[in-house]
């Protein structure tokens, strides 16, 4: 067997891996470089005009952000104009950028958010608000999902790591949502979150004897993103539980016995034996969750389409929306590249923060 031509011939090996390599190249490697290239053009999906190289113009458009200070409107005597409710009146940015040369740079930009500072108004203005909202939502999603999902997964792993009768049933149950397609899960959770007769509302209603009013979880800008976070955490928590579990099982039971004899409590055993023993697993889990969370798309696409009021826009959803919905391939590519750089940077920072300081 070991001498068969199949295992010895180098050419056969390459030939056999060719289909796989071709597919990977065609659908992952080539598009990756395409994205870089297209992001510096004005390419559209279907267009009669020839493609033009525009350099970093797309990036400038999308990433343009500035802080402007607006002075209150004053009457002839110099007093601040207030409306009937006493709110200070400010000039409109659009008018300023047309009339005032100092504000010309902000032409076409819109206020993303702002706040009051003394008498003046500070505003963060951006050229592409949708991108910035998607970025904020995605970062928020990652910031909540990564620690919560990782933490719950660790808790579950500790629970199912005990030698109990029927423990495999629990492991299976917790792992089950991972096996189900995220699209199917999202569809099902749409029913759960339904505002009129959803399972969640019914449950809350019954448990509180009607004290908690029904909420349209996905239709309300203040709850939609949270609802999607909760569902996403539930769906993939089993996967990370299994990774934690494999890490837990590499820790020698003798270490726990030694800790027990030395007088360590359950918490101290976790603190001094379990947690240090899980360090490599923790790095893996955190990086994997972060990368998965940044790729948030299917849930949004199935459940909310970015709404209501853009409260669930995500970067990947925007990339797809622009590239295919609006046929703006270069716009979608720019988001993809920015997302790539962002995830790469965060992963590198995480690896640096969790590096092995021992050696």
């Amino acid at each position: 067997m070991a001498d068969s031509k199949l295992t010895r011939s180098n050419r056969t090996g390459w030939l056999m891996s060719l289909p796989g390599f071709t597919l990977v190249a065609l659908f992952i490697i080539v598009p990756f470089f395409f994205a870089f290239g297209l992001s510096m053009t004005n390419q559209r999906l279907v267009s009669p005009n020839p493609t033009k190289y525009v350099g970093l113009e797309n990036y400038r458009q999308m990433l343009d952000i500035a802080l402007v200070t607006l002075q209150p409107e004053r009457d002839a005597s110099g007093t601040v104009i207030r409306d009937d409710e006493g709110t200070i009146q400010y000039p409109r940015l659009r008018r300023l950028s047309r009339s005032d040369p100092a504000f010309e740079r902000y032409k076409g930009m819109r206020e993303w958010f702002g706040w009051q500072s003394g008498e003046s108004h500070k505003a963060v203005v951006v050229r592409d608000p949708l991108f910035w909202i998607a970025l904020r939502n995605t970062l928020l999603f990652v910031l909540v999902v990564a620690p919560v999902q990782g933490g719950i997964a660790l808790g579950l792993a500790l629970l199912v790591n005990q030698k109990l009768r029927g423990i495999n049933a629990f492991r299976t149950i917790y792992f089950m949502p991972v096996v189900v397609s995220i699209v199917v899960v999202s569809l099902l959770w749409r029913f759960i979150y339904d505002g009129n007769d959803g399972l969640l509302n019914n449950l809350l209603d019954t448990l509180s004897f009607g004290a908690i009013p029904g909420v349209d979880w996905l239709g309300n800008p203040s709850t939609a993103l949270g609802a999607i976070m909760a569902m996403s955490i539930w769906q993939a928590v089993g996967f990370h539980m299994v990774i934690w579990l494999s890490g837990l099982q590499t820790i020698s039971p003798t270490l726990y016995e030694a800790a027990d004899i030395e007088g360590a409590s359950k918490w101290q055993a976790f603190r001094y034996v379990t947690w240090p023993g899980l360090r490599n697993t923790a790095v893996l889990v955190i990086i994997v969750i972060t990368m998965q969370a940044f790729a948030l798309f299917a849930q949004i696409d199935v459940m909310t389409n970015g709404g209501p009021l853009d409260s669930t826009q995500s970067l990947v959803f925007q990339a797809v929306e622009r590239g295919y919905g609006k046929q703006d391939i270069s716009g979608g590519s720019v988001i993809s590249v920015v997302l790539f750089v962002l995830v790469l940077a965060i992963s590198l920072v995480q690896r640096w923060l969790t590096r092995d300081r021992q050696n």
């Binding site: 020698s252 016995e257 030694a258 027990d260 004899i261 030395e262 034996v273």
Partner: protein, 363 residues
């Protein structure tokens, strides 16, 4: 410092009884070794003392306090494991002081006790290293150090040297012996290696199938084994058992013979036998003396293998009824395989056992 007493100690895993009624009293400062073949329950017994295994029946007392249901940390014991069980992410210093960190002992006192243990084991220069930077022997030293820092009333060792290579094992064995002298603490040591048992122990407990076969000083076990199992287990190479027939019986001795053994009167210490019984004559390889004159010998056979070790020569002999016999002859001697050989021995150093059963104490 403490005494320890076990009475009627049993351990069951489901229907299987692995420790079947153990009664041992251990004096303050005594070094006791549990020895037996693998699977005999010696480690389980030690883990019961440590509190890592529940006690199914009987009583375990440390310093006259019943500790059956006490947590390991409250029993005043320290344990050294075969696999060292030192914490891989902590430095040697942190490992040594782990118990004190847990108990929130003030820093100065912790440092002082850690230094003292390090001094006893001569490893002050290793304190800032990580376990991954240590050799097997050094790791086990750290584990022993951690036990010392606890200042326990009883030290428990679970085959501490089994993972070390032969040369290191001998060094560490001597160190543990010295440590016992220096600390004077009560120590219980589990091993399957009878050399460790013989050299270290004040008293040896021989265990087989969860039953104590014999408790006694090393030389007592060697010279007066209580049964055939102990006789065969203690001593290296192990004792020869020659099938013989009992020809006549006095009140404390018997006349035995076989095809290859001329009739000889040997003391009957262990079991009462009667004339006509089949028996086994136990002869230690070291006590067989070869003789050049065939007529002078008592035991006859053919040489089948000669191993020269320098300090002694070990020969394999096929007796006339074709049982295998090993003799360890002092000094370097030359023999030729295939030749006839005869041995003499001191009848008072022979042991007579019944041929029935497996030779061990059973319940």
């Amino acid at each position: 410092m403490a005494t320890l007493s076990m009475s009627g100690l049993t351990k069951r895993f489901g229907d299987i009884e692995v420790i079947r009624g153990v009664d041992i009293d251990i004096a303050d400062g005594e070094f006791v070794v549990f020895v037996g073949p693998s699977g005999c329950g010696k480690s389980t017994l030690l883990r019961m003392i440590a509190g890592l295994e529940d006690i199914s029946g009987g009583e375990l007392r440390i310093d006259d306090h019943l500790v059956n249901d006490m947590q390991p940390r409250d029993r005043g014991i320290a344990m050294v494991f075969q696999t060292y069980a030192i914490f891989p992410h902590m430095s040697v210093r942190e490992n040594l002081g782990f118990g004190l960190t847990i108990a929130k002992v003030p820093k100065a006192e912790k440092e002082q006790r850690v230094m003292q243990a390090a001094r006893i084991l001569q490893m002050e220069h290793l304190l800032d290293r990580r376990p991954s930077q240590l050799s097997g022997g050094q790791r086990q030293r750290v584990a022993i150090g951690r036990a010392i820092v606890r200042e326990p009333s009883v030290f428990l060792f679970d085959e501490p040297l089994s993972n070390l290579d032969a040369a290191l094992r001998m060094d560490m064995r001597m160190e543990i012996g010295k440590l016992h002298e220096q600390l004077g603490a009560t120590m219980i040591y589990v091993t399957h290696d009878q050399v460790e048992a013989m050299t270290l122990a004040d008293r040896i407990v021989v265990i087989k199938d969860g039953i104590v076969q014999q408790v006694g000083a090393p030389m007592e076990l060697y010279h007066q084994p209580a049964n055939r199992f102990v006789a065969g287990f203690i001593g290296s190479p192990s004792m020869n058992f020659l099938p013989v027939e009992v020809q006549s019986v006095d009140h404390d001795s018997a006349l035995v013979a076989s095809t290859s053994l001329d009739a000889v009167r040997v003391p009957m210490r262990v079991e009462p036998l009667k004339s006509g019984d089949q028996a086994l004559l136990g002869l230690r390889p070291q006590y067989l003396v070869p003789t050049n004159e065939q007529d002078a010998g008592q035991l006859h056979g053919t040489l089948s293998l000669v191993e020269r070790l320098g300090s002694e020569t070990v020969v394999d002999v096929n007796t006339r009824e074709n049982t295998r016999l090993v003799a360890a002859i002092a000094d370097d001697r030359t023999f030729e395989t295939g030749t006839e050989i005869a041995f003499t021995f001191d009848p008072n150093r022979a042991h007579l056992f019944s041929a029935a059963g497996d030779g061990a104490l059973n319940k």
